[in-house]
């Protein structure tokens, strides 16, 4: 099978859509209420060292994905254990996002439809995208990123007349501890989930610098997410933002321009759907690649359908209701640490040691 390669620009758009993923709708609220935007900025700063580590790993092993690197560094047995952990993480994340998504659709547009058909419809499109390969995903993200970005800008422009700029005052009312806690939560969801791109790194060309890619993507998405959270705060005030499940949705509900563009919140489901497709596809591809590696199958595309159905099954059983889903976020922050921090750190240290040994030899 021909190796799939995508250009840096396409990867850039995929990473941004991935980071937007669920955050552009679920809002980026945290316990810090009106200082959430500071948590966001702090989270972005937190992420930079980890991103540098991810980029370094990609740089040290050009055109190889994470699973191949792990196997090379740790051998068969220990490597397989780590691969199983990463596969579990990507599968679980896939299920979580899928569940996020179907809860949102059910609550927002179709309260009487059971969630399973929604999940199935979504996963079928995701499987179609994943089967078409990562190049298609790259081109698609370029096309759709403009659409998503445009919708965000339009909603911000339309909501200008309803914004109350004093909503972010008083400044720094919350102590630094809660801002930091909020930042930690934002770091885990969504920024550090980009660890999954290490699993797709074999599509990046050798000459592209992963560091520049990651950092620019982080910058761009932070700016947009900042705009989103500021819009939410200005429109609704910190209380509402903290209390609603889907903050952006509630914010857009309030838009009313000349009595004509009112209640256009159905429209921003479009954002979530498009970004969600990319996020779920990336997680699915990572899980499928890992599974294929575990069992020694060299073409991961053949396993896409069963892995995707496994993700659907998992997302059906993972939460009982939407409140549990929102509540899980505070546990997710800690639960994701081994996968987002510890495993990449270990891989990086092992890689550096090996490079060092090789240089000495």
């Amino acid at each position: 099978m021909q190796k799939e390669m995508i250009s840096a620009r396409q990867m850039f758009c995929i990473i941004i859509m991935f980071i937007f993923g669920s955050s552009v709708i679920m809002g980026v609220s945290s316990g810090a209420a009106q200082d959430s935007w500071m948590s966001l900025l702090l989270a972005a700063v937190f992420t930079v060292p980890m991103l540098l580590i991810y980029a370094r790993i990609i740089k040290l092993f050009p055109e190889k994905n994470l699973f191949e690197i792990i196997e090379m560094l740790f051998g068969k047995i220990a490597g397989n254990i780590i691969i199983i952990l990463m596969v579990w993480y990507s599968l679980h994340l896939c299920a979580l996002v899928l569940r996020n998504f179907s809860e949102y659709i059910q609550i927002v547009s179709m309260p009487e439809t059971p969630q399973l058909p929604i999940m199935i419809a979504m996963i079928l499109v995701v499987v179609y995208m994943a089967k078409s390969g990562i190049e298609t995903m790259g081109k698609w993200s370029i096309a759709m990123l403009s659409a998503v970005f445009l919708v965000v800008i339009i909603t911000i422009l339309f909501s200008l007349n309803k914004m109350d700029f004093t909503n972010i005052l008083p400044f720094m009312e919350n102590d630094f501890k809660s801002i930091a806690a909020g930042a930690f939560r934002l770091y885990a969801f969504p920024f550090a989930e980009t660890v999954l791109f290490l699993c797709l790194a074999d599509a990046m060309k050798k000459k592209d610098s992963p560091r520049k890619l990651y950092l620019y993507a982080l910058l761009f998405s932070t700016v947009v997410l900042l705009l989103v959270i500021l819009r939410n705060l200005f429109m609704m005030g910190p209380g509402m933002v903290g209390a609603s499940y889907f903050a952006s949705y509630v914010a857009v509900k309030l838009i009313d321009v000349a009595d004509f563009f009112a209640r256009i919140e159905g429209f921003i489901s479009m954002n979530f759907i498009l970004a969600g497709i990319i996020k779920i596809t990336v997680c699915l591809m990572a899980a499928a690649k890992g599974t294929a590696r575990l069992f020694g199958i060299n073409n991961y595309r053949k396993l896409l359908l069963p892995v995707s159905l496994l993700a659907v099954a998992l997302s059906a059983i993972v939460y009982k209701n939407v409140m549990e889903m929102i509540d899980f976020l505070r546990f997710y922050t800690y639960y994701a640490v081994p996968f987002q921090v510890i495993i990449p750190l270990t891989v990086w240290i092992a890689a550096e040691i090996r490079m060092h040994k090789r240089k000495l030899a």
């Binding site: 620009r9 547009s109 179709m110 929604i118 499109v125 370029i142 009595d259 479009m270 759907i273």
Partner: protein, 516 residues
């Protein structure tokens, strides 16, 4: 799967039969005796009553016996009489029995296009096509003369691609005439034309044309590979070829361009594409095909570029609208009523209150009715047929509204859909299916289904390939080069480079420096 096995056996039987026939013809050699050869030919063409045999004996040498075989109606009788029969009868050139065929070919018969033939299959093919075959007593070879004189349609403007400015020539059903139309436009020997035959039973002539220095040889090799794989008993129209060399078998989108006009073909050849001509059809294929070609028309290059850019944008908009309008309408009216402005909502609700059907079913029925009326309009003999059918559809729609069967906004939606689909005639096939799919998804899942459908359609379009080359290349580079001939039509002094799949990228040398 069982069905496939079944058909495979049947196909094998047909193939075997045809192969036997062909083998029979191939293996039979010609005899030296005139009588035996004529007997073979008569038996082969038994029950073909237009076959004519004419025995000729030379005036000066009674031992020279010839027989010409031809099919009446396909040959030009004047040439047969004046250039073949007359010289053969009257010539006094001695014909030795050592090499009679060469002498006859080179010295006696006065025809410009002659060939020797000794295989029965070739001879049969030539007789059927309009050539005259001469059998000489005492020679195991026959001579084939080109005496084709069948009537073809005169060159006229093609009905399907009308032009406001620009040439009004169109291709006809004769391969040679079509080739002559483009041969005259490119006066360098770079324009190559390679013949081949397609179809086991029909042995239709096809011609592959390309510009030698511009075309990508890989693409040419791939095309030849695929044409070699075609194994069907008849190729009657270029559409057969299109479907047999497809990349993705189940996509409704086109993977080859087709046109009836020589200027369009030359334009595409000069961009590095390859043209496939087929005898018997005026439609010529061009490969590889890019997605933007769906929105291009040759008119664009002959008219002012401001106007053409606008028309092109209008076409792209038309494509988008015709696919999304019904789905979007249903999503809003049936699921997200709050998205409409209040006044609009009230008027739509008022008109829908007396209608018996649910919105999605209504939309479905209206679109199908509209398509039925449009389809009948195409089959009507006059040009006004299409316009007439649309007007008819709207009138019927109005009557339905007054009978309170259908809501008025639905008529507008269906009419808009139909009218915007006329902007892009090349895409009427995919548009129907995608529109239906989006409509069904919207009916089940509302706006969510609609967006999923649009996303899936985009994935499909990105996946399309024509002869291995991706049809839609979103490289993300917002360079002017990428949109010069796609979304807009840049003026000619700006179009310096060719599309990326051509080998010789430079079309013009620094054209922009010559004007300011």
């Amino acid at each position: 799967m069982l069905r496939r096995l079944f058909l495979r056996d049947k196909q094998k039987i047909v193939n075997d039969k045809v192969e036997d026939l062909n083998e029979e013809l191939e293996n039979r050699d010609l005899f030296s005796s005139l009588d035996k050869n004529i007997e073979t030919i008569s038996k082969l063409f038994q029950d073909v009553d237009i076959l004519r045999l004419k025995y000729i004996t030379n005036n000066h040498d009674n031992r020279l016996n010839y027989c010409i075989v031809y099919c009446d109606g396909v040959v030009d009788n004047a040439i047969v009489n004046d250039s073949i029969i007359k010289p053969l009868m009257l010539s006094s050139v001695p014909v030795t029995s050592k090499n009679p065929v060469d002498i006859i070919m080179n010295q006696i018969v006065q025809i410009n296009d002659t060939e020797k033939a000794d295989k029965l299959s070739d001879i049969a093919e030539s007789i059927a096509y309009g050539d005259t075959v001469l059998f000489v007593d005492g020679a195991p070879e026959a001579i084939v003369f080109n005496t084709k004189g069948f009537k073809t349609r005169a060159i006229s403007e093609p009905d399907s691609e009308k032009n406001l400015n620009g040439p009004r020539e169109g291709f006809t059903e004769s391969l040679m005439m079509n080739l002559s139309l483009i041969r005259r436009k490119v006066l360098t020997p770079e324009l190559k034309m390679k013949f081949r035959t397609l179809g086991r039973r029909t042995m239709t002539r096809a011609c592959i044309c390309y510009m030698d220095g511009i075309v990508d040889k890989e693409v040419l090799a791939e095309l030849n590979r695929r044409l070699d794989k075609i194994d069907i008993d008849a190729v009657l129209d270029t559409n057969y070829i299109t479907e047999l060399i497809r990349d993705s078998r189940l996509s409704p989108f086109r993977t080859t361009g087709y046109t009836e006009r020589p200027d369009v073909v030359i334009g595409k050849l000069l961009e590095g594409r390859i043209a496939i001509f087929l005898d018997g059809t005026p439609f010529v294929l061009t490969v590889p095909y890019l997605f933007v070609e769906n929105f291009q028309s040759s008119d664009d290059y002959y008219l002012n570029f401001f106007y053409s850019s606008f028309s092109r944008l209008l076409r792209i908009l038309g494509f988008f609208l015709t696919i999304t309008i019904p789905g979007f309408y249903i999503a809003v009216v049936a699921f997200h009523q709050e998205m409409m402005p209040l006044q609009l909502f009230i008027s739509i609700a008022a008109s829908r209150s007396s209608v018996p059907l649910p919105a999605s079913l209504e939309a479905f029925i209206m679109i199908i009715v509209f398509d039925i009326l449009r389809e009948t309009g195409i089959r009507m003999p006059t040009n006004v047929g299409q316009a007439l059918s649309i007007v008819g559809a709207i009138v019927i729609g109005q009557a339905a509204v007054e009978a309170k069967l259908v809501a008025a906004p639905m008529i507008i939606v269906a009419a808009l859909t139909g009218i915007t689909s006329l902007l892009i005639p090349k895409m009427n096939a995919p548009v129907i299916y995608i529109r239906m799919m989006l409509l069904i998804l919207s009916s089940f899942f509302g706006f969510f289904g609609f967006v999923l459908g649009v996303a899936a359609t985009l994935i499909h379009i990105i996946n399309l390939r024509s002869l291995g080359i991706p049809q839609a290349a979103f490289s993300g580079k917002l360079q002017l080069q990428e949109i010069k001939d796609t979304a807009i039509r840049a003026p000619w002094w700006r179009m310096i480079l060719r599309p990326s799949f051509a080998k010789d990228k430079v079309r013009m040398n620094g054209g922009e420096n010559d004007h300011d």
